[in-house]
């Protein structure tokens, strides 16, 4: 019984540990990516209050910032078009692009 529990626990932990990135983007040549400045500019024009920082993750731009509604979020953006793909507030999904 105890052994079964431990085995189940290990599978559970390792399974979930893999699922950290929130979104995967199609792989494209890095030279086609928007620069940080360009994406920041785009978001500011959409009314974002703050673009704190960004980093590439899962082939997308992962942006930390504050939306026009004042929500502190983590967002994934298409690196070429700058389209918003997913928005999460402390792990709570606020927006997900329809597939």
């Amino acid at each position: 019984m105890v052994r079964l529990f431990i085995v189940a626990m290990v599978f559970f932990v390792s399974g979930v540990a893999n699922a950290s990135g929130l979104y995967e983007c199609e792989e494209v040549d890095r030279s086609t990516w928007l620069t940080e400045t360009q994406l920041t500019q785009q978001l500011k024009e959409k009314g974002w209050q703050e673009v704190r920082r960004m980093k590439p993750d899962g082939g997308c731009w992962e942006v930390y910032g504050t939306t026009p509604d004042g929500q502190r979020v983590e967002g994934y953006f298409d690196p070429v078009t700058g389209e918003q793909l997913i928005l999460a507030q402390r792990g709570r999904i606020l927006f997900r692009k329809e597939e």
Binding site: M9, F12, V13, V16, A17, A19, S20, L22, R52, R53, M54, K55, T66, D69, G70, Q71, R72, Q89, R90, G91, R92
Partner: protein
């Protein structure tokens, strides 16, 4: 001589303050992260992690005392358990202050308050407050038997901390690495409490 140093209250405090020294130096240097994180953001995780780890440390003492009744280290720890709990609270205060500074506005904090990863953190923090305030000889005397039942709320705080940690990072691994040992030890403790091997004394 060594015994005297080891048994001095200050000795325990210095050990418990060790993670804090590093955080303080980061804070004073105003260092920023490789991905452009601010100093507050950099310290947010380590401060919370220290709070959680030290809380777990305080909680595993009793089951380890049951498991290793002759062990002098855990007896030594048992005698300092309230200090350990208060240290966990101090790191939690630091963690909360960093969060508030990082968020920068009440509105932004209220907006995300209902996210599972956030309200559980607040819940753990607010449970910690009365526990820390009563972690002294005066309160122990004053509260008598109810001290123990009050301090059992640490289990609720631990559960809230676990959920907070998992959901804030979207990641089970690191949080479970700390909490699974605690759960196993608590399981052992409960099992021992309900199935005592010792023959009845009557």
């Amino acid at each position: 001589m060594v015994r005297k140093i080891v048994n001095a209250p200050l000795f325990m405090w210095v050990i418990l303050a060790l993670p804090g020294f590093r955080m303080t130096s980061t804070l004073l240097s105003g260092a920023t992260g490789p991905e452009g994180q601010t100093t507050e953001e950099l310290l947010l995780h380590p401060s919370g992690e220290s709070a959680a780890q030290i809380m777990v440390l305080a909680m595993i003492i009793t089951p380890l005392r049951m498991l290793l009744p002759q062990n002098r280290f855990w007896l030594w720890m048992m005698n300092r358990r309230r200090h350990i709990g208060v240290a966990a609270f101090i790191y939690a205060v630091f963690h909360t202050v960093l969060y508030v500074v990082d968020m920068g506005s009440i509105r932004a904090m209220l907006d995300e308050f209902t996210a599972l990863g956030i309200w559980t953190g607040w819940a753990a923090f607010f449970i910690f407050i009365p526990l820390a305030l009563t972690s002294n000889d005066f309160a122990v005397r004053k509260l008598g038997a109810s001290w123990k039942s009050l301090h059992r709320y640490v289990y609720a705080a631990a559960l809230a901390t676990l959920v907070h940690w998992i959901f804030i990072h979207n990641n089970f691994g690191p949080a479970l690495a700390r909490f699974v040992p605690l759960a196993l030890l608590e399981g052992y403790r409960l099992w021992m409490t309900f199935n005592p091997k010792r023959p009845a004394n009557t």
